[in-house]
Symmetry: C3
Subunit: 276 residues, 3 copies
């Protein structure tokens, strides 16, 4: 009965509101939650991260609708995916790469059954005409298989670059948030006393688990070296750069009460090396 | 039980949240959906388009609350309007022009009955003190007539300029969305194979229906000529200007992965001619 | 069953959506209302005003969650506060100063009981791991005392500067809204015919009540003098500066269809004098 929304539509125009009207016409009791409507235009990779990072915090069976859809009206398929945790609806362009990698099992289907489309399907707004109705029907218990035909190989983005080693972990910048915090692919990390344990995301081989000391680790990025991995923002001086474990378990660079992204002048894809 | 909100309040201040608090105090089960709170300050015409374009996608009986209210505290009336499809609440300044034109029948009333106001009515925020309570009461089934006295002639804006002809359709720019898509008054258009059928919006005379070929039509705007009307965004090259039928059935100018509004340097009111 | 949210997280990232997911996992029927997510980064004083100004318009028993939390992961306590009107959840950094001052009675508790935390508590996002769960549990009726231990003296900000006198009321700029309206600490004011009655906010001594004529009063701010206090925006010419009683009962400076803040070039804290 819960549906989240992630788009690049912004909130200035009524496009998001209209999708909600369509969903509530089908599922009047649905709880609708916005994840982000400020995904950069057509930035599938950012949206994939947003959905992946948020979905563990929603109840089992939540439907996640993501409409970043540069290919609307072309041959790209509309799809829905089911994992043990949640359901996902959107265009087949890689949006669900990370959640599929993270799931032990999943199945996918096209949204080809016109019974679950709006009566009139435009060629320019499948968010409203195809995706929103599918999400709403799933939220009230429609079986995934009813929506269309099985999809064996949904489109996938390359996984975030991460080479975990005993001495050195190599990764890349994954995401920059609105505070200017620089989220990297070095994760997921968890604290074990003063040590950190890396359980490489999307690489489900426990042999990869690596343990290292937070105090002696260094992080190299954009020609700078940051010493130590801090427990939280308040442990360095205002304006000081630090490395820490962010809220989703990935290594972050941050400046206390400032912007690490601006200080470092980095973008997604920039190289990061942790020496352990 | 559903209420939409359209304002020029933005979301930085708690004004919208406060209106929601008032509505949920009266109608605790209401589903509240934001259409837009980024209507340009006091731009009644844009808000009228937002409500008109969104309302067909909501369940019958939805209440649409619109507060663009430069005349708050002056003589302008607060009103509610009922059509076969929906209910509308806001100041009597033209906000509901398009939905009234579109409806076969409507009736309107003032919001003069103090029983449905907040206990204390300020002179500066009728959105909170008069409009939100009226919308909430309507959403739980209050009869329109209970709110006040009948209004025969609510204020109306001039209709969007549109001169439909066999050889030539003359219109104007109606709206520019946040992607820079230029929505014109040439609509509503629907596809019939490769032809388009114009059923002039707000001019309910079927004799006006005009059919023309999408391939050979040309669109003139801001000194440029665009050839053909495309089915969707993906049919031209990245960066190319195109004409297409937008998601609400009006002719749009768009640049694939770019901004047509910036390229054309047009504003609402600019002339558009389609040669059929 | 109603929970409001006030943060400095913005809506670009999914942080707010994630907190909602956590709350709806615990309280699936909760009505969630955003007050503002555009509080300037770490501006506790602005958030305190937002929550104080909005809370009277929500049903009794509403839970107000506020996460402006520069001290996350440090020694600052997480707290919840209960008044006769509402419940409040957030870090103990002064966020609830105004609502405590306004309430005849309140009690406060820490959020130290791990039973009401997420299973894994990070050091960087207590909004998700501690505050959101507490708010959700309170919204479904959990007793305040169950959350932790009593707090005798929550952190308080200095109250807004206000020296009420018979001839002269001295105050300061409290808040600037997105329209550029300048809200001052001179309040709360109510109309009594053409007179105004000041009932000094947070200073619950009826002896302080002062009555003065709106027509003859003058307001001095930033080297300017504004004559008279107007009932509403529409009573002066477009572009003209005016003083009026704003929607929350505080004296405001406004420019009709313009920005008083820009015209006056003032910031919170600037001095205001009303000569009565």
């Amino acid at each position: 009965m819960m549906i989240t929304l992630t788009t690049d539509f912004g909130l200035d125009d009524p496009y998001v509101g209209v999708m909600k009207g369509v969903m509530l016409s089908i599922a009047p009791e649905a709880q609708l939650v916005d994840l982000s409507h400020a995904v950069p235009a057509q930035d599938v990779r950012t949206a994939a991260y947003v959905v992946y990072a948020a979905q563990p915090y929603f109840p089992k069976g939540t439907v996640h609708l993501a409409v970043i859809d540069p290919g609307v009206g072309t041959e790209r398929l509309p799809i829905a995916i089911q994992t043990a945790q949640a359901l996902f609806v959107g265009p087949d362009n890689g949006l669900f790469t990370y959640v599929m990698e993270d799931a032990a099992h999943w199945k996918a289907t096209t949204l080809s059954n016109p019974e679950y489309h709006l009566a009139h399907v435009s060629k320019v707004f499948h968010g409203r005409d195809i995706f929103a109705p599918a999400a709403a029907h799933l939220s009230i218990g429609l079986d995934l298989d009813r929506l269309g035909d099985p999809v064996e190989n949904p489109v996938r983005l390359p996984l975030p670059y991460l080479v975990p080693g005993r001495q050195e972990l190599k990764g890349e910048v994954l995401h920059i948030d609105r505070f200017g915090n620089v989220v990297t692919s070095v994760g997921r990390l968890r604290w074990n006393g003063e040590d950190l344990i890396l359980d490489p995301a999307f690489r489900a081989d426990p042999a990869h688990e690596i343990r290292f000391a937070s105090h002696t680790a260094t992080v190299e990025i954009a020609g700078r070296t940051v010493h130590g991995i801090q427990p939280t923002y308040g442990t360095v001086e205002i304006g000081e750069m630090m490395a820490l474990v962010g809220s989703t378990g990935f290594l972050e660079l941050a400046v206390r009460q400032g912007s690490a992204a601006r200080r470092l002048d980095v973008r997604p894809g920039a190289a990061v090396i942790v020496r352990t």
